[in-house]
Amino acid sequence: MSGHVAPHRWADAFAGRLSDAELAALERHASRCPRCQKARERVERASGSFDAIRAQAAPELPWDSVRARVYWSVSKERRSGAHAAVRRRRPARGLVYGALGALAVASAGALLVAARTESPAPAPAHDGVAASATGHGPGAIAAPVAPAPLRGLVTRIAGIATDDVLVDGARAHDLFARQLAAGSVLATGDARVDVQFGEASAFALGPRSTLELRRFDVQNVELVVSGTVDVEVGPRAPDQRFVVVAGAHEVEVRGTQFRVRRDGSTTEIACRHGVVAVRDRAGAQVEVGAGRRVQIASGAAVSPAHVVALSVDELAALSDASPVRLPVWDPAALATSSAPLEISAGARDVRRDVRVDGIELGPAPLRVRVMPGRHTVEAMDRHGRFRRAGWVDVAAPGAGRPLARLEIPADPPRSAGVAQRRRQLRAGIDPARLAGCTRSIAKAGLTDTYVQIELAVDETGAVEFLNVIDTDLPSATARCVREVLADVRFGAGAAATWRERIDL
């Protein structure tokens, strides 16, 4: 100890954070210590310049140039289909719509979803042009530059049988290692598959459904779906369109989240965000806004009378059905740097919602794409609260690497003996040692700290684990506190797992 005033204490003084007595003591010391007097002056001058810094206005910049660059950056993703696409946009528009109509007619019971990035207002579809748009007819227009293909990555498989997914007719055990491209066909049994295909776009194919990625590039996405699909589409530019054709009906959407369910006799569209417009082949149209749905029999004309509000439960179901999306979308990097994590439920008849690293993923069993590293898994108990189920280390993907797995314990956390064990813990802590851990930081002014631990003690009194789960202490101090707590001895008694907050 040198006996000098720590410089930051002068800042506290100038900010009025010290009591009069404290301030007087500092001033007394400074009056006979040139070194602290000098430090005081410097800190005062620096503190005095804060106001001037805070008041600094923005320097003049080439605002219009910046705005132009911002606009270019924001819109270039939507224009990434190359300028050549713009030139052929207008003739292709009608052709593709014709194709959609033809496909819709041809595939009764199937649902066609077409996402297009460079199309203005829709034109009525007619079969004659449809063949041209798909390149099968004489009117096909060769694209000067092929649009960049999209890649889809599976982000989650949920359901009783997570292997119950077929790709191109074969059972896919390596679904997480694949990049889905145009032509791929997914079929689910009891599982549900989430696929991301852009930073803000993903779909989830429901159980007992089939989906074909008929077209899958930056300009056009055509998903032929039979069954149920939940789609989340990133925002579209005014001249971009996302079209769903379901039998005789056409649905136009923009950035939105919605569900399309098509069975043999009806088509149902439910919209959670945004607005979708549903048209029939005769051109009649109804709008389905957020929180509404429409159910139409095959071949029937659309009418505003079909649109009804979603119930709270239906809205909640739509919300729960949101496809899993990874925050940073780079399919090439993700395919080589992420790996699946399988989480299985302890008891098959119990629904156990799980959370990985704080993100809710729905009920186990499931597989989810994660980055390599340690991940915390929590499972919902019977009271609806998430409790830690364990952690699992996931290795980087590689040949021969086993699948990372974690089984959620079937038994709920033991709590019968918590009160007794808590008393034993409190009685067993050595307060002198604990004070020794925090002495240095308390002297530096960091007081009223705490540490929260999670502790498991078995019937014999042995500590199964002791984890510091939250603290505002520096790491070295937290380690010291943990050592003190780890030395507490428990006697025989009921097993218990609990969390304890200790204020220091």
Binding site: V5, F14, K38, V43, S47, A55, V74, T471
Partner: protein
């Protein structure tokens, strides 16, 4: 005692919440006029925030561009749990943090000279100030930024937001996407380091007089 003043955002008069929600909705619908309005309304605030955090104007236009690109791309995810200006400030902080980190990796071209120029608040330069006083003030500010440069990026941001911008722990936690206890610890060490540098290299390394 140092008087805390409300942070000057450099922005246009604030929007009321209804107008703000409408502007956001229009932006989400890709209304270009709305994009322009948002840009024009907040561009000076964004530039000022970045400028004050970083202390120099090197590549400031690129950073402003980066902030708005992130904002426009992320508007869809903006939940409205904070004012738009606060949300933009958060983006500014993150962009500035990235800038500080990249600068740490490179030889530091500290642009403190900018602080000595007319970019300083015009209301200050309009005062009848003596050359000595002007020089002194510029040196004080330069010393502050030089001390900030000595800190680790995360500590620097936290210290700047607390000591200079006068924000509380919760506000800082939101801006740096952390929790208040972490911010508190980070701030504790940042203040010690910062004021030790400010006080001079010969300042006491270990405090003993806590009064």
């Amino acid at each position: 005692m140092i008087a805390r003043v409300k942070r000057d955002t450099g922005a246009s008069p604030p929007l009321d919440p209804v107008d703000e929600a409408e502007l956001i909705a229009r932006c989400r619908a890709d209304d270009r006029a709305a994009h322009d309005e948002l840009y024009h309304r907040f561009r000076r605030q964004v530039a000022a925030n970045l400028y004050r955090v970083l202390g120099d104007r090197t590549d400031l236009d690129d950073l402003v561009q980066e902030v708005f690109v992130i904002a426009f791309r992320g508007l869809e995810r903006f939940r409205g749990d904070a004012r738009l200006s606060t949300w933009l400030y958060r983006i500014c902080v993150n962009v500035a943090l990235g800038r500080i980190r990249s600068r740490k990796r490179r030889p530091p071209p500290i642009g403190l000279r900018d602080l000595d120029r007319a970019a300083i608040d015009p209301s200050l330069t309009e005062r009848p100030e003596t050359p000595d006083r002007t020089l002194e003030r510029q040196r004080d500010q330069a010393r502050v930024y030089r001390a900030l440069e000595m800190l680790a990026p995360k500590k620097r941001i936290v210290l700047y937001l607390h000591e200079i911008e006068g924000l509380d722990l919760k506000e800082i936690a939101y801006l740096v996407d952390s929790n208040p206890v972490t911010v508190r610890t980070r701030l504790f060490y940042a203040r010690r380091e910062f004021y030790r540098v400010i006080a001079g290299d010969d300042a006491p390394a270990e405090e003993g007089h806590e009064a």
